[in-house]
Point group: C2
DNA sequence: ATACAAATTCAAGTGCACTTGAAGTCAAGC
DNA sequence: GCTTGACTTCAAGTGCACTTGAATTTGTAT
């Protein structure tokens, strides 16, 4: 079992943010008798999972929805599948936009390099 | 020359947001004698360009920096090149994260599909 | 026991990128 | 010439995802 600062260390997420995630209902923790948070390996695994969702811009509200389904049990499998599939489409959309802009920038960068090279050789 | 609402129509950006971009110094417009905005084809082209930067999460502050360089003239070509190259790296980083999460979700989706199928056939 | 770093809760604040509102000006159609 | 809708400026508000602060309690090391 890990303390909040150990988990913060392991994952790069601040203790404050971990408490905020718990407030928001997307993270869980155990508590010592005096009320201090302790995290199981599984809970850290869950954190890593939801961080991947956040990194790819799934809103906290949707992660919350997914988390609720998980808590409700196996009969929500179809709903979970649906959420994940929608997010995958979202990811594919994001990649398409990134690729497009990358291509545009490649051209522009090439232009700038030629321009700078030309200027240099005239000096 | 286009009016603000024509540009809004063409690009999907609200008139209000166009004025905000001008405030922020990342867009330009001409004015009629009475002070109403008119956009040249070039200005619309610039808008489309900065929208691609925004879509790929370049902060408005950096776009502003780039815009200033453009206004300053050719001697800033190297600085502009640098900004674009940094943003391209940023894009590549974003794509890497998206691909990683996509791979993870593909596995999870497959698992859910198998699980649901198994449950179905037991009914 | 005592010091002190780290934990707790609850509330308020921050930064970004818009968005909305209020109050007024302008221009084209009837 | 008057209405109507689009335009203007300037300021305040919104939503998201944290972040910071204040006041208090807890746990470990001397």
């Amino acid at each position: 079992m890990y303390t909040i600062s150990e988990v913060a260390e392991k994952t790069g997420i601040k203790p404050h943010t971990l408490r905020y995630y718990e407030e928001e209902g997307i993270m869980q923790s155990e508590r010592t008798p005096s009320g201090i948070r302790r995290y199981t390996e599984q809970q850290v695994g869950w954190l890593r999972f939801i961080l991947k969702l956040r990194e790819t811009n799934m809103p906290v509200s949707q992660i919350k929805q997914y988390t609720h389904y998980v808590k409700e049990g196996d009969h929500t499998a179809l709903d979970r599948l649906h959420l994940l599939e929608v997010h995958m489409q979202n990811i594919q959309q994001q990649m398409a936009e990134l690729r497009e802009t990358e291509a545009m920038l490649e051209k522009k960068v090439k232009m700038y390099k030629e321009m700078i090279h030309t200027t240099d050789t005239l000096k």
